[in-house]
C-alpha cells in the first residue's frame, strides 16, 4: 500500500514539470514548425490552413495538403534573410572574440587575487548580470549618441574639435560594444571558475623545471583554462546570434541581425508564417553550436567526476 503511494508520489513529481514543458515548450515549437509551412492570410490568426479538430480526419488531411515550402523558398529568394543569418553569425563571432580578449585578463586577475577579495570580485561580476539587460543597453545610448557623453569627453580633452561628433550609435560598432558589455559576465564566470581551480603548484613546477613564467602561461595556464574558454565562448555566441534588443537599440539600419528581422517580420509585416520559418532556420543554425556546447559541458562534468 505504502509502496503504491510512493510510486504515485514519484509519478506526480515527474508529471507536473514534464507536462508543463510539453505543453508550453515542445508543443509551441511544433506549432511554429507547422505555421512555417502555412500561408499568410488576412484573418485572425493571420495564416491558413488552421487545424480544427471539428472537421475530423478528412479535415486534417486536407489541411496537411495545403502546407507548403513556399516560406522557405521565399527565404532563399530574398537575400535579406541570408544576409541577416550570415551577418548575425559574423557579429556574434566577432563579439565573442572581443569578449574573450576583454574577459580573460579580468578573470585571470580575479583568480590571482587574494582569496578574501575573490567573493567580492565575483559579486561585482555577477551584479550587472542581475540588472536589466534593457537598462544596460540603454545606458550606452546616452554615452554613444552623437551629442552624448563620449563626444563631450572627447571634445573636452581635445581629441575631437567642438563641432565634431562621434558617430558610433546606430552602427555595427555600437552593436559590438553592446554585446561585449552585456555578455561579459557570461564570459568571465566560466573563465574564472576554470582559472581558480588551477593548482598554483603546477606553475611552480613549470618554473622549477626551468620554464619562464611568461611561457608557463602559454604551456600550462591557457591550455588548462580551455574548458572555461569554450564554455564562455558558447555562452556568449549562442544568445548573441539571436539577439534582438542590442541591434535594435544600438545598431543602425545597416546592421542586419536575424532576431531583429524576425521581430520586424512579425510585428511590422504581420507575416506569421515567414517569421515562423525564420525562427525554424535560426534554430537549425543554432543547433550545431548548442549540441557542441552540451557535449563540452558533459565532458567537463565527466572529467570532474573522474
Amino acid at each position: 500500500m505504502a509502496q503504491h503511494q510512493d510510486r504515485n508520489g514519484r509519478r506526480l513529481v515527474i508529471a507536473v514539470p514534464y507536462l508543463w514543458l510539453l505543453v508550453f515548450f515542445l508543443v509551441p515549437f511544433l506549432i511554429v514548425l507547422k505555421i512555417s509551412f502555412s500561408q499568410i492570410a488576412v484573418a485572425m490568426p493571420p495564416y491558413t490552413p488552421t487545424f480544427s479538430l471539428g472537421e475530423g480526419w478528412n479535415g486534417l488531411v486536407a489541411a496537411f495538403k495545403e502546407l507548403s515550402f513556399d516560406n522557405y523558398i521565399w527565404l532563399t529568394e530574398d537575400d535579406l534573410y541570408i544576409r541577416s543569418y550570415l551577418s548575425s553569425l559574423w557579429i556574434a563571432f566577432v563579439s565573442t572574440v572581443i569578449t574573450l580578449l576583454v574577459g580573460y585578463p579580468v578573470a585571470y586577475g580575479m583568480a590571482r587575487a587574494p582569496s578574501h577579495w575573490r567573493a567580492t570580485l565575483l559579486m561585482l561580476v555577477i551584479l550587472p548580470f542581475w540588472t536589466s539587460f534593457l537598462i544596460r543597453v540603454y545606458a550606452w545610448i546616452g554615452i554613444l549618441k552623437p551629442e552624448g557623453l563620449l563626444t563631450v569627453v572627447l571634445q573636452t580633452i581635445g581629441i575631437l574639435s567642438p563641432d565634431e561628433q562621434v558617430r558610433v550609435l546606430n552602427t555595427t560598432t555600437a552593436v559590438y560594444i553592446g554585446i561585449v558589455y552585456s555578455y561579459l559576465p557570461f564570459m568571465v564566470l566560466p573563465l574564472y571558475s576554470a582559472l581558480e581551480k588551477l593548482d598554483g603548484s603546477l606553475l611552480e613546477a613549470a618554473e622549477d623545471l626551468g620554464c619562464h613564467p611568461l611561457k608557463a602561461f602559454w604551456v600550462i595556464t591557457f591550455p588548462l583554462s580551455l574548458p572555461g574558454v569554450i564554455a564562455g565562448c558558447f555562452l556568449v555566441f549562442i544568445p548573441a546570434v539571436g539577439e534582438f534588443v542590442i541591434p535594435d537599440l544600438l545598431g543602425g539600419s545597416e546592421t542586419l541581425m536575424i532576431g531583429k528581422t524576425l521581430w520586424a517580420e512579425f510585428f511590422s509585416n504581420r507575416d506569421w508564417p515567414v517569421s515562423s520559418a525564420v525562427a525554424v532556420i535560426l534554430l537549425l543554425v543554432l543547433i550545431l553550436p548548442i549540441v557542441l556546447f552540451q557535449r563540452a559541458q558533459q565532458r567537463a562534468q565527466e572529467r570532474e567526476a573522474g
Binding site: 514534464y18 559579486m123 582559472l195 598554483g200 521581430w263 512579425f266 517569421s275 535560426l282
Partner: protein, 278 residues
C-alpha cells in the same frame, strides 16, 4: 592559484570593472540631473523621480511587472525544484532524455523564438492574451533556470541523508519536506530570486505574449527609449538597479555570514578533536 596579482592583473581588473560599471554609474548620476539634457550636468535634483510617480502609465506598468514577476517566480520555483529532483534523484525513467532536453533547451534558446512559439500556441488555442499569458511564458523559461540552480545543490549533497531519514521511518514525501527542502533551501531561494529578476527584466518574450492591459515595465521603457534618452527613464532604471543591488548584496552577505559561521564552527570542532599537545 595562490600567488598575488601583478600590476598587469590589477590594471586589467580595474579596466574591466570600470567598463562594467561606468555606464551604469553615469546613468544613475544623470537621473539626478536638473536639466532634461542627459549629457550636460545642471545641478542636483530629484524632480524626475517625482515626475515618475505622477506618470500613471509607468506606475501601472511597474505594478503589472511586479505581479507578473512574483507569481511567475513562485510557480517557476515549485516546478523547477520538482524538475531538478526528477533529474537528480529519479534515475532512469521513460522519456528522461526528452525531459532533460526540455529543461536545458530554454536556457540557450533565443528569446525571439520562445516568445514567438508561445504566442502561436496561445493563438492556436484561442487563449485571451494578457496578464496570465505573460505569467505562463515567464514560468516556462525561468523554471529551467531554477531547475539548474537547485540541481547543482542537489547533486552536491549526500543522498544518504535522505536514506537515513527513510531508514528511521520517515516516508518519502515527508522526508522531502523535513530533510531535503531545508538543506536545498538556499538554492531554492536563489532560484526564486533569479526567476524574479528574469521576469522583471524580460522584454522580448513579454512583448510577444502580452495582450491588452498587461504592458510590463520593460515594454514601457523600450517604447520610450526608442524615442530617445530621458531623465525619467534614467530614474526608473536607477530605482530598478537599486532594488536589484540591495537584493543581491543582501543575499550574498547573508550567505557569506552563514559560510563564515559554519567555517568557524568547523574549525572549533576540529580543534576540539585534536589531542592536547605538550
Amino acid at each position: 592559484m595562490n600567488r598575488g596579482p601583478s600590476w598587469f592583473n590589477i590594471t586589467s581588473m580595474v579596466m574591466g570593472f570600470a567598463f562594467l560599471y561606468l555606464p551604469i554609474l553615469i546613468l544613475i548620476i544623470f537621473s539626478f540631473n536638473e536639466s532634461r539634457l542627459v549629457t550636460v550636468w545642471a545641478g542636483f535634483s530629484t524632480k524626475w523621480y517625482g515626475e515618475l510617480f505622477r506618470n500613471e502609465g509607468l506606475m501601472d506598468a511597474a505594478w503589472v511587472t511586479a505581479r507578473v514577476a512574483f507569481v511567475s517566480a513562485s510557480i517557476a520555483t515549485v516546478l523547477g525544484t520538482l524538475a531538478a529532483i526528477t533529474l537528480v534523484r529519479f534515475g532512469r525513467f521513460h522519456g528522461r532524455t526528452l525531459f532533460s532536453g526540455m529543461v536545458y533547451a530554454p536556457l540557450v534558446m533565443p528569446e525571439v523564438i520562445t516568445g514567438l512559439s508561445l504566442l502561436l500556441l496561445f493563438v492556436a488555442v484561442n487563449f485571451d492574451r494578457g496578464f496570465w499569458t505573460v505569467v505562463i511564458a515567464h514560468i516556462t523559461f525561468s523554471m529551467c533556470f531554477v531547475a539548474v540552480v537547485v540541481q547543482s545543490r542537489l547533486v552536491s549533497f549526500d543522498a544518504s541523508v535522505e536514506e537515513a531519514a527513510m531508514d528511521l521511518g520517515c516516508p518519502p514525501g515527508k522526508t522531502f519536506f523535513v530533510i531535503t527542502l531545508p538543506i536545498i533551501l538556499p538554492a531554492v531561494i536563489s532560484g526564486w530570486m533569479l526567476a524574479f529578476t528574469l521576469s522583471l527584466d524580460d522584454l522580448v518574450i513579454a512583448s510577444f505574449t502580452t495582450g491588452p492591459g498587461a504592458t510590463t515595465l520593460p515594454m514601457k521603457i523600450y517604447s520610450q527609449v526608442r524615442l530617445g534618452v530621458t531623465p525619467e527613464i534614467n530614474a526608473v532604471c536607477t530605482i530598478l538597479i537599486a532594488l536589484v543591488t540591495i537584493g543581491v548584496v543582501t543575499a550574498s552577505i547573508v550567505t557569506k555570514r552563514q559560510e563564515i559561521e559554519r567555517k568557524r564552527a568547523e574549525a572549533a570542532a576540529v580543534r576540539a578533536d585534536e589531542p592536547q599537545q605538550v
